[in-house]
Symmetry: C2
Subunit: 468 residues, 2 copies
């Protein structure tokens, strides 16, 4: 269907799609709250009903946590298959007294729908449901579609992860569509083409067999806080670069095109200073700030503790110290190898007076980089460029979204991460909202992508715009 | 009085003195427990009665905390004045279920009296009261005596400190006798001839204006844990020596005699390893371990904290870090100057990405060093050498006892710190006890010192023994 046709249909049907959106927001599906379990299950059942009504074969799949909604509808013979991922659970409402309207009684005001989940992820899921509804009714779906909607995204529950490993056949697809991200701060549509992975290491240092009195032992006893400080300080150079041997090895270099695209995103040192109150570290000079976050691994101490740092003084020589560190990995890097290098550095730089125990070691999410010339990405870009919100930008996120990497691995699908959120939507905060204007953009994007874009490589209305 | 005379009297009167000791232990004078306030006051009143009965002019002095017992009795004209310090309060009894007999029902078993305070400080105070009782009754006191017995030693209350500043005239004396310390682990009597002082500094480092997500900001954002580690690591060299410029300046060097005496105390690296599970730091090579603790300043990090070091991982880049450090000062050093040098070092070595705020700065106790040729010390040594427990050793403690330094400063008195405690007495622990044999030694020491020793410079029975 053309953009014109879709716009005409949307104008006529907007109320119908917004009422589905409202219905979804009405469920207080707070997955972190055990008392809301029934509400979560009710929301999942309602989605099964809605997807069935649209024309999908839909069902609830039980897990050790909250159930997963699974639905599918075959496409034309030989057409690609899309896997759509969303989540029906929402964040808790605290602090409840800062809400101007009740969080589970959606209110439309000044062109925005207010309520918990109005954007994250019910609003961004509702425009996808609306697009599927329209495409099915007009027999315009150009690909097969599978949906997986989980109920434990906000509470990091195990349900979907288990299902992925248990029944990988439910997830096979050519591309993975996730509408749970945001636009560029400039208001231009954005495609997330990369995520970093994350590995975590927890170490404990020990000197004496007990805390010692700093008067009786001061000047003689080894101090675990001194040893931990020395060890922690050895992890970075003064300019912020990581000093661990081989830490940057195997990191996939950004291509010239990726570097060009990354340069379009809004990210400069001045804006950074306004946001955080401090300038960025000098760090690796060969990369821009956006490139350092998107394409380069990083290492941070997340926790460091020794002795008594609370109120009052304790005249103690601490006998042990805790050190928690994590590294963000990038495409090309093997998480286990990174963990080995970190552990090796700690052992090698351990001050001789201390012993070291690695008490935790975990690869908590793989890195992802989507080739810019993947057909699904080209199609998504074409659909976005066609929205009238300016040419789309690509983003390479520094954060990790473990479920996306897992879904991509198990399904074999190319991830297409596109969303229409903005900072002003206050997700995870009181008075969450999502404007009708962006709901409409989301509808048009999904409908364009699944109603022609992907199956034709995004080329049916002329070449991809943008100056690549 | 001669040792012979005193021994004869003690044999005849032991029951009488032990019953005073028992009476004292019966008071549950736990100063840290507000519910025991009345018991503390009752104990103080009982002491006023007892001292009056012995022949002192005694009274209770109210303070903002628990009352202080003050008593005095003039000596012969021209005689020196002794100021005796003790405390009538005791530690809490927790863990209560580990006591084999009720803590406030003193029990004599196998030559030891068991009960909370049986040693610290009621037992060591009771033998001093016994000595005063005997000397007064036999008109053998050769000096004036003032007593100050406080009730907030175990709870660090402000009462006595306030009184010292408010009424310094109550404390004027030639020497200060404190029987709240221990013997050498070898069983020989010990004189504490030095204490270190202590200064404390608390700093807060700050980078960004809020904690940042380590995925979104990793590789770009300054990390306060990194900055704190770097700063903390700058305080010491790898061998444990303090790296702060001028840190060892003004430290009074031990004299050859002090070094010889310090060498007699039991302190070696092997014993240290057994006690703490670790060998001492290499540290300053020009000094023995005992000398490093007794005569050299030290610097320790007592607390270091940044980010989340508790259970679980938090993917955070900490925006602030807390650093608590303390230094032990020695005679010759000005605490304020040491604090200035520490603060100067922190500012000078602060990584450029962090700001620093000194949020706490305190001189919490002055250092003390008593000249070995002070007449009171020579007299104490003579009295101790005469006990039959071997020649006395001198000790220079690494710890700080602020009230002793304050009393010495206000009174102008030379401190004589002699006690008969040993590790096996379990002070501050369940089943505290003190043996009759050392109670008797304490009695003989105090009686010899105040019944002749000090007034005659400790020389009445021949020259001071020991190979100085």
């Amino acid at each position: 269907m053309t953009r014109q046709e879709l716009e005409t249909i949307y104008e006529a049907e907007q109320d119908r799609h917004v009422s589905v959106w409202r219905e979804l927001v009405r469920f207080p599906s707070v997955s972190a709250d055990p008392a809301r379990r029934d509400d979560c299950v009710a929301c999942a059942n309602w989605l099964v009903g809605r997807l069935t009504a649209i024309g999908f074969e839909a069902r609830l799949i039980e897990t050790s946590g909250l159930p997963v909604v699974h639905a599918e509808r075959p496409g034309p013979p030989g057409a690609p298959v899309a896997l759509y991922y969303g989540h029906y659970d929402v964040q808790p409402v605290d602090p409840a007294d800062l809400w101007r309207t009740p969080p589970f009684e959606p209110v439309l005001k000044d062109g925005r729908l207010y309520g918990r989940g109005a954007q994250d992820n019910k609003g961004q899921m509702a425009y996808a449901l609306a697009a599927l509804d329209v495409l099915v009714r007009h027999d315009a779906l150009t690909c097969g579609v599978r949906l997986v909607l989980e109920g434990e995204e906000e509470s990091s529950g195990p349900g979907l992860k288990e299902l992925l490993e248990r029944c990988p056949e439910l997830f096979q697809a050519d591309f993975l569509l996730v509408t749970d991200t945001g636009m560029d701060p400039s208001g231009r549509p954005a495609i997330t083409a990369g995520l970093r992975g994350v590995v975590q290491l927890e170490a404990r240092l020990r000197c004496a067999n007990k805390d010692l009195h700093s008067g009786i032992h001061g000047g003689v006893a080894p101090n675990a806080a001194h040893a931990a400080a020395r060890l922690a300080a050895s992890l970075h150079r003064a300019d912020g670069r990581v000093a661990v041997k081989g830490f940057y090895d195997d990191a996939l270099e950004p291509s010239p095109q990726e570097r060009t695209e990354a340069g379009r995103a809004l990210f400069d040192a001045d804006a950074y200073r306004v946001l955080t109150g401090i300038g960025p570290t000098p760090g690796e000079k060969r990369y821009t700030l956006a490139e350092r976050v998107g394409f380069r691994p990083s290492l941070d101490i997340n926790g460091l503790a020794a002795g008594h740092a609370g109120p009052g003084f304790k005249t103690v020589i601490p006998c042990e110290a805790a050190l928690k560190i994590s590294a963000r990995t990038v495409a090309g890097q093997d998480p286990d190898r990174v963990l080995d290098r970190l552990a090796g550095h700690l052992n090698e730089h351990l001050p001789p007076e201390a012993s070291l125990e690695i008490v935790g070691r975990k690869s908590a999410g793989a890195a992802l980089r989507v080739p810019l010339d993947a057909p699904a990405l080209r199609a998504a870009r074409a659909a976005l460029d066609n929205l009238g919100a300016g040419p789309a930008v690509f983003r390479w996120e520094g954060a990790s979204v473990p479920i996306v990497a897992d879904l991509a691995r198990v399904s074999g699908a190319v991830p297409v991460l596109v969303g229409f959120g903005m900072e002003e939507d206050n997700i995870h905060a009181p008075n969450e909202s999502f404007p009708l204007a962006r709901f409409r953009q989301g509808f048009l994007f999904v409908a364009r992508l699944l109603g022609g874009g992907v199956a034709s490589g995004g080329m049916e209305e002329g070449p991809v715009t943008g100056d690549q």
